[in-house]
Structure formats: C-alpha cells, structure tokens
Amino acid sequence: MEFIGISVDVFLITATLALAAFGLAIIYGLIGVINMGHGAMLTLGAYLTWFFISLNIQFLLCVLLSGIGVAIIGVLLEHFIVRKFYHRPFDTLLLTWAFFLITTEIIKIIFGTDFRNIEAPIAGAFDVFGVNIPAYRFLVSLFAILLIIASTAVFLKTNLGIKIRALIQNKEVAGLMGLDINLTYKTVFGFGSFMAGIAGGLIAPMLSIDPYIGNIYLVRSFFVVIVGGVGQLLSGTVVGSFLIGGTETLFAIFSDQVISQAAVFLLAIILLRLKPSGVMNKKNV
C-alpha cells in the first residue's frame, strides 16, 4: 500500500515536472537557445488562462488559447531578436533573461501583484486500493505524458521532424539542400513557446498565480533538460524529470524536505560528472 502510494506520488511529480520542462527541452534542446524566459512563458500561460476563464470560456479551450497566445509572443520574440543570435548561444541567455524581466513587469502592470487562483476544473480525489489520488493532477499527468509522446512522434516520424533534425545536424548542408532554415527555427521556437503556455495553464490550478509563478520551475527545468540529455525530447525529459522531481519524493521518505531538495541537486551534479552530456545521450563528449 505504502509502495503504491509512493509510486503514484513519484509519477505525479515526474509527469508535472516533465510538462513544465517540455517547452524548454524543445527550445534549448533542439535549437540551443538558452531560454531564461521559460519561466516567464509559464507565467504568461497561467495568467492568460486566468484571464480567459474570467471571460467564462471553458477550461480546456482557455488552456489552448493561452498556448496560442504564448506561441505568438514567442514567435515575435524570435523574429525580432532571437533569430539574430543563433550563432551566439550565450548571448541568448541575456536576451531571454531580459525578456523575463520585461514580461514580469508588464504582467504586474496589467494584472497587478495580488495572488490569483483558478479552481481546479475537476475537484476532489479518488481512491484506488486505499491510495488517495487527486483527480485533476492525475489527469494532467496522463495528458502530459501523452503530449510528450505525441510531440516526439512528430519529431521522429514526420517531414517536419526530419527537417528539424537536419537543421540540428548540419545547418549549412540543410540550407544548401533547400531547407528554409529561418522558418524551421521559427517553427521550433513557436512550438516550444506553445508548450510552455499550455503547461502554464494546466499547472495554474495547482499553484498560486503570481508574477513569479513560472520561476519556481525555471531552475528545475534546466536541470531536467541538462541531466536528462539535451536534445533527447522524450526519454531525456521523462528521465530527467524523474531524477530531479521523483527522487525528491524518495529522499523525503527518510529525510526532511530541506535535505531532500538539496540531495536531488547533489545527485544531479554527480550524474553530470559521470555523464556530462546527460543520462540519455549515448555519445558522451
């Protein structure tokens, strides 16, 4: 019983963290932009969802609209700024950090600084074998896993996926072969922003909505992507989330919260020492 309970907890945390980190896994993992604005994108997703709900729109539609909204903002950011810096990845760190600062201030101006909340669209919990499972979180977790699998299928099985992989492998040759490099970059960046917006909206009912909500996940998301393996969309994100999120629950069984959170990051450092390009990357440089 205890074991099932813990497994469920580990699953919920892993899936939720994977959802939060997925947008970053796409933008950082595929096109190498060190997106420090990822937290702000999650925050935007949460606020947009809150806003659409206040217009009495159905919850899932709100989340979808928020994803589209954040994608539009992401594409604009890419078009006017980020695309000029693809060959200078470290500069993107500063640019996207500036995006975070500006977005946070704009959110404060438009929505104010008060806490806001969204009621979970499915309230309560259900019991399985005496284990209590919160309904909404469980559904979001399932949805997150499906979303990541579906996106990975797009990446592996479709034309678009081939284009993206060609771009990552060799930009010059892909360009010479007739691939529209700019458009592909833009598509990936927009898709990553879309995922961040969706994640922000779905996570919003579990958290307080304030101008810094997304930043709770910023550092954790980076650890997920780096520990899991940059560029490994499915396996990297899921395994990384387990190592950064799920293990925290396991540590917490026999130590207190403060120590278990620290232990997770210690584990991350040790793993990176042993496998510098991430647990799920086969080639280690």
Binding site: R116, N117, G124, L207, S208, D210, Q257
Partner: protein
C-alpha cells in the same frame, strides 16, 4: 578651419576648468555655511519619515497594504495640522524583498534623505538587516509585522532599544487560542512552515505551551521557499493522523500547499490552523480552498469594532472599495499615529525623546481596539482574534467569522536584558 576650431575648444576647456575650480570653491563655502542656515528647523519644516516597503520582489503582494496603512494615518494627522505644527512627509524606499537592499535603503534614507525616523521593513529577515543600521545611526524603526518574538541572540534585529514592535508575537497570536482549538479538535499537532526564522521560532514557542496543555507534536516539517509539489508532505500528514495542522508557510508556498491539500480531498479529514494567511493570501486561495480553516491575528477586516468601521470607511475612501487591508497595514497605521502622539508629548523630534515617549504610549483609535506600547521591551499589547474562514465568502468583508477574541493580550516578557 578645423585646426582653428580645435584650438578654440582647447581654450574653452582651459577657461571652463578654471571656472570649475572657482565654482567648486563657492560650493565648498556654501556647503560649510549651509548647516548653520539649515539646521535649526523652521516650525513649518515637515517631519520626514522614511518608509521601507516590499514594493517589488517575492512579497510584493503584501507591500500595498503595508504602505497604505501608514499613508492613511499620515493623511489623517496632516489634515489636523500635523504634529507640533509640522506636517509629516514620507520618503519611500523599496526593499525589493531583499535584506541586502534594506541595508542600502535604510542608509540612504538616514544619511541622504535625512529622515527623522524609519517605519517598515516586512519580514523578520528584513528587520534583522535594518537592526545594525538603526543602531549605528541611532534612529528609531517602527516595525509592523507579526513576528517570532524577541530573543537576545538575534540582537540587534530585536532586543534593540531603537526598534518598536507593532505586531503580535506568538504568545499573543497563538497561545490565547490553543486551549479552545485543542478542546474542540484534539491534542495532536502537525507543524508545517517555511524554512526560516519566523516559523521555526513560532513553532518552538507554540510547542512550549502545547506541552503545558498536554498536547503532542506528531510531525514537524520545514519547506524551502518556492517548492511546487507537496505529495510527500501530504502523505506524511495522512500517516501521522494529526488533529490540527498548524500552518506557517509564507507567500506563494502557502497557496501552493493549500491548493494541493484541498485538491487531495484532505479538507474534510483534517483541521487546519494558519498563523500566516491574512486577507491578501486568503483572497488568492478562494473560498473553496480556504473555507472552514482557522486563522489567528490581532486584526481582520471583518472584526466588528467601532474603530474598525471608522478606519475602513476612511481606508476605502482613499484606496477604493476593493482595496485590501491586513494586520501589517493596520500596524503601520497604528505606528504612525503612536509616533505622532509621542512627538506631540515630547515637544521635539530627536531620537532620544521619540524613544522615551513611545514607551508606554496608548492609542485608543486603533482599528482592532485600544493598544499600548509596553515600556520595558518595546512590544505592543494588542487584542487577539481567532477566526474561521467563511466557506462561502465573496469578498474581504464577509471572509472571516469570529470564533473568539481577547481584547487585551499581554505577551511574555521579551528574552532580552530588560529594560531596553
């Protein structure tokens, strides 16, 4: 032509350099003379008060009520002609919710803005950062937040003769309601708090009384700031089967925990008593998540006291019908009025006379009911209220239902070398 121009500019430079030296001389002379001219305050010169508020950063949500309380009081005082015929003037510093910035701001306000005294800072960490500054500069700081009480080892953040506490400490906020809660729900406590001084010391003090009353602690966890997931904590709580969850998480962690607590369907099985969630946080929680939980403080917008009705009327007139007030904002309001009374009584504004006259001063117009500043340890004596959150609240006016109240709660003496 070009050469000429260049020459000219060099000449100009020489002249201007000489000018600069000359004018610097005048400025120096002026600066030497200035104190003699400026120092003796004219009767009409304003009394300058430095305010340090968390206007940006993690605790921005609390900043608005914090500063609004003081502003309202200053308006009221100035409308009556000020103190000693002098108006109060506010100089505002943003702490950005960072102790490091508090030190910068306190120094700026004291040295550059030449304020007469300071009010504000929000968390205990912020107050502790300001402690050494007000000690060294010998300025008074009026501190508004409910806090952990004064322990000698945290001097000069507490046990500092220049710092006056206008918020309740645990023997006022928690102790008076423990018997009621334990009789009604049982004696097993599960303590959950954020990982810093205030929750840890508050729980330590609470445990002392708990032991006296024959209760026990079945779990005690401290959560690092910005923790998003609470599964393992919720599981620990289920396993420990407490009668009361004693809650002192702060900021967004409060909301995250309580949303997940409610989502896990645990609200029906456990009683939750929070000592941190006032109007601002409860608004963020919504009625479903916060309903039926218990809260204790010295002030709530919902309390029925004639002073409060009068206070809220003025507050809403200035800041709008939907503006939020809380215990900290009211403490700032009281602090401004009590400082004005002390200055009036002293007849002058210097630190020593302000300090001497704040001690023992009473304020009958306080929104929560009359309050007094205790002489020996600069600790305010305030009422204490235990409230239950109305499960169908729609706004701050019907958010809390009174369970019990004590009009005058005398706290234990501060653990300092007394008198301060």
């Amino acid at each position: 032509m070009k050469k000429n121009k260049k020459n000219k500019s060099i000449v100009n430079k020489k002249v201007s350099r000489r000018d600069v030296v000359k004018s610097m001389g005048y400025v120096a002379l002026g600066a030497l003379a200035a104190p003699a001219i400026i120092r003796p305050a004219h009767a009409a010169d304003p009394i300058r008060v430095g305010i340090i508020s968390p206007l940006t950063g993690a605790w921005t949500v609390y900043g608005k009520a914090h500063i609004a309380g003081f502003e309202l009081a200053v308006d009221e005082i100035n409308a009556k002609g000020g103190v000693l015929g002098r108006k109060l003037e506010l100089v505002i510093g943003d702490s950005k919710t960072e102790p490091r910035i508090v030190v910068e701001q306190a120094n700026r306000l004291i040295r550059r803005e030449k304020v007469d005294f300071l009010a504000g800072t929000f968390s205990s960490a912020e107050r502790n950062a300001a402690g050494p500054v007000v000690k060294a500069a010998d300025k008074v700081l009026l501190y508004p937040t409910f806090y952990e009480g004064q322990e000698k080892e945290y001097h000069p953040g507490v046990c500092n003769k220049n710092i006056f506490m206008f918020g309740p400490e645990p023997t006022q906020q928690v102790w008076p309601h423990m018997e009621y809660m334990m009789n009604k729900f049982g004696k097993k406590f599960f303590m959950i708090g954020s990982d810093y001084a205030w929750p840890r010391v508050t729980n330590m003090v609470t445990k002392r009384k708990l032991k006296e009353l024959g209760g026990s602690v079945v779990g005690e966890v401290y959560i690092p700031f910005n923790t998003p997931q609470y599964e393992s904590v919720l599981r620990d709580i289920r396993k420990a089967k407490p009668d009361i969850i004693f809650h002192s998480l702060t900021g967004s962690d409060t909301v995250n925990f309580r949303q997940q607590f409610a989502a896990a369907g645990m609200k029906n099985d456990f009683t939750l008593w929070t000592v941190d969630d006032e109007e601002v946080v409860t608004t963020g929680l919504g009625p479903k998540v916060s309903g039926n939980d218990y809260v204790s403080f010295d002030y709530f917008m919902s309390i029925k006291h004639p002073n409060n009705a009068k206070f809220l009327k003025a507050f809403k007139k200035k800041f709008g019908q939907d503006a939020l007030m809380n215990t900290v904002g009211v403490a700032m309001y009281n602090a401004a009025h009590m400082a004005a009374l002390a200055i009036e009584k002293a007849g002058k504004v210097d630190t020593k006379s302000l300090r001497e006259n704040l001690k023992g001063i009473a304020f009958n117009g306080a929104p929560q009911g009359p309050v007094t500043m205790r002489k020996d340890d600069n600790q305010i004596i305030v009422p204490s209220y235990l409230m239950q959150v109305n499960p169908s609240w729609t706004n701050v006016n019907n958010m809390f239902n009174e369970v019990q109240s004590l009009q005058k709660v005398v706290p234990l003496a501060a653990r300092c070398s007394l008198p301060l």
